[in-house]
Amino acid sequence: MGSPRLLIIAGLLALAVLAGTYALLPSSGGFSGPPAQIPYGFNYYGGLNSSKPGLAILVASPTGNHLQGVEVRLVNITGPILTGEGNYPVLETHLTDSSGWAQFGDLQNLYPDSRLGVILASRQGIIASVLTGSRNQPGSLVTDGGVLAIGTVQLSGASGGTIISLGFADQAGQPQSGADVYYWRLDLGAQLPSPLDAAAPPDGWNQHRVGATDASGYFIHSDPLGPGQYIIRASKGAFNYITVTTVYSSTSSLNSGPDSVLAFSGLFFIPLILPLMALILSYDAIAREKTEGSLDMLLSKPVTRTGVAFGKLAGAFGSMVFPVVAVLLAAVALIWATTLQAPTSGFIASFLVEAIFLLLAYTLLFLAISSLARSLGTALLISLLFFLLFSIFWGVATALIAGLFAPVGSVAWFQIATTMSLSSPTGVYQQLLSQSIQGLNAIGFIGSLGGSAEQQPLIALIVAGLLWLTAPLVLFLYALKYRIAEG
């Protein structure tokens, strides 16, 4: 049954998927998960007269543990502040105390006329900075009594979302415990209230209270938050501070996370190689036997045409499905072996099911073509045409046609394009795949667009998928039972 053919195309699949997977794996050997240390930097001015500039850092973990003994450096930043560039002269080194804080005071006297900054020893990037001496501009940096530093951690993987945490201190850099914390969410792109420090939600701040700072002046909101603009307020007594931080739609880069690495092969290799595999092994299943006369030998035996059809299907599909599953599981194993993290099992399962659907749909399609075609050459030609059309051109075609009806990139355009793309098995596959990767939001080559509200409902995808399995099957059976016997 063409086993050299099978070996070649299975080898090609293995090469593409495994090489592609390997190329995407992070070279450091692990995925960059949430950072182990989140610093919160504070610059303050010791009272309203701004005569005592200071810097402070609170270091905590993503889960809210205050980290003691973290090395923090005070550095002299001369010239423009370039994050992470150069080696700034280190002036002082402190370790965070048991509450996670490190304080740098008396800067005016120790380092006059300087721009100073604090960094973590473990990584580059100025956390906070302050000016001393004549460069100090009193009055311009005075806030309403408190200083608020916000830390955000973007979570990758199936759940996604962002965790927001904060540290709250007064103007002397003293942590404020027991301060009330409020989060008020506005949509992305919504107009922010102005002036910000007078802002209040329509239903009042009390409705938006999420908790209070701990003894270290630290608060972490451990439920991940979705996209939006978050107006955050901390207040204790006379100290009150409002700031805003934005969480964008999670467009995790393909490099982040084992799920994404696996998904990469689903986006790029599977839609090309699997239909090609199905073509190579099925296009001549019936046509060749017709031409060479062995079909007569078969059909003149006590067998039903339906039996012959399913036998051919089992032969073609059965010989392909095992190598395909093996290669995909090998990719999972490769990811796990290199990074010690595996894609989530739910995602692996849906990924496999979707790939099997794609393989089966195209096998049935090419078997149907094989049984309808009059000659082997016609079977190959028509099969190739369908392959090229569905696998390669259809994405472009649907995007272009949708562009005739709605502006490119708009929600309407997206909906037209995705509805049209259901008219190819590859389109159904790609949409099923993107729906099973939450947070990836990539629809084939069209790229990252919008959120789940704009995608096709899952039920539509399932119906389209079932149609793409039954229609070619019916055509195949019809061709074997009636067309071939017509002469």
């Binding site: 060479e292 006369g293 030998m297 006590p302 002469g487």
Partner: protein, 312 residues
């Protein structure tokens, strides 16, 4: 009971105006060897393909082993062994592997497989070649393998499309003896052939097909006698030929033509025994001396040509 029965079988191929088969009605009783004769394009293979459930007739019905081929194709095929004109095989498999595959389709008893397959291969003369891949087979070997496939399930009916085609004289003799064997065994055989000489020797009855129509069904000898007449010759070596007797001979019933060359008189016609006796009597009555008289029997080919020429 009839092993094969067709009732007004008609086939018009898609896109063609002329029917390939027109109202074909014939029956083949059990134990008969039936020969299907016809020029190229007459519809023999069409008929066979319909009987073998490979083709659907446009109208009409056909029964094989008592079962309707349209309503009960799978059951019907259980009783038939088929040898197509152009058997197709899978070049990467051996002859034996093919037989094994067919045997499994027939649902043959797996425990007796191997012995049975070897037997069949031996019978068709492929005992040594059975393990070789079909792509190494000559045309003759492929046809023998096809024959093996037909014999495999020990069927009560065999349908053979051009069984002697591509075989050497030894092979053709083998087919002949095989057919006789099968008949003695009580099997029924339906075969089509171009080789009229072969058909004549083995068939119980013969059907002549021309342009989709069945012209005549009868024992080969009867057909020859009825239609071969024009070519039949009575050769008489004579002395003292009298020209006047020639007209008298021409006037005889069954005589088509009379000619004399040197001393040989040739009488053409449908020369049954009575005619020959009359010819001799007339010659003797006129005083013509007969040195020898020899009848060249009409053959099927003559009949065939006569029949089909007449219809053209």
């Amino acid at each position: 009971m009839n092993e094969i029965e067709t009732e007004k079988l008609t086939k018009v191929y898609r896109g063609k105006k002329t029917p390939a088969l027109i109202d074909l009605t014939l029956s083949v009783p059990r134990g008969e060897i039936f020969g299907f004769l016809g020029p190229n394009g007459a519809g023999k293979t069409t008929t066979i393909r319909i009987l073998m459930t490979l083709l659907r007739p446009t109208t009409g019905s056909a029964r094989v082993a008592g079962l309707d081929v349209l309503k009960n194709p799978m059951e019907a095929m259980r009783h038939v062994g088929f040898m197509p004109e152009n058997p197709g095989f899978y070049s990467g498999l051996s002859g034996k592997q093919h037989l094994r595959y067919y045997a499994s389709l027939y649902g043959l008893d797996r425990s007796r497989f191997d012995g049975h397959l070897n037997e069949v291969l031996q019978r068709v003369g492929l005992a040594d070649a059975g393990i070789r891949k079909v792509k190494t087979y000559s045309l003759g070997m492929k046809r023998r393998l096809a024959l093996a496939g037909a014999l495999l399930s020990d069927p009560e009916l065999l349908i053979l499309d051009e069984p002697s085609l591509g075989l050497d004289p030894e092979g053709m003799a083998f087919v002949r003896s095989l057919l006789k064997e099968l008949q003695q065994d009580g099997r029924t055989v339906f075969l089509s052939s171009h080789l009229l000489g072969e058909i004549e020797k083995v068939c119980t009855r013969v059907g002549i097909l021309h342009r989709g129509k069945l012209l005549r069904v009868d024992a080969p000898r009867e057909i020859s006698k009825a239609f071969g007449g024009r070519q039949a010759v009575l050769e008489v070596e004579t002395r003292n030929m009298v020209p006047a007797v020639l007209d008298e001979l021409r006037a005889l019933q069954g005589v088509a033509q009379v000619e004399v060359k040197d001393n040989t008189l040739r009488v053409f016609g449908a020369l049954d025994d009575d005619t020959v006796i009359e010819v001799n009597r007339k010659l003797v009555a006129k005083g013509v001396s007969i040195l020898s008289s020899r009848r060249v029997e009409p053959d099927l080919e003559a009949a065939f040509l006569a029949l089909t020429e007449a219809k053209t």
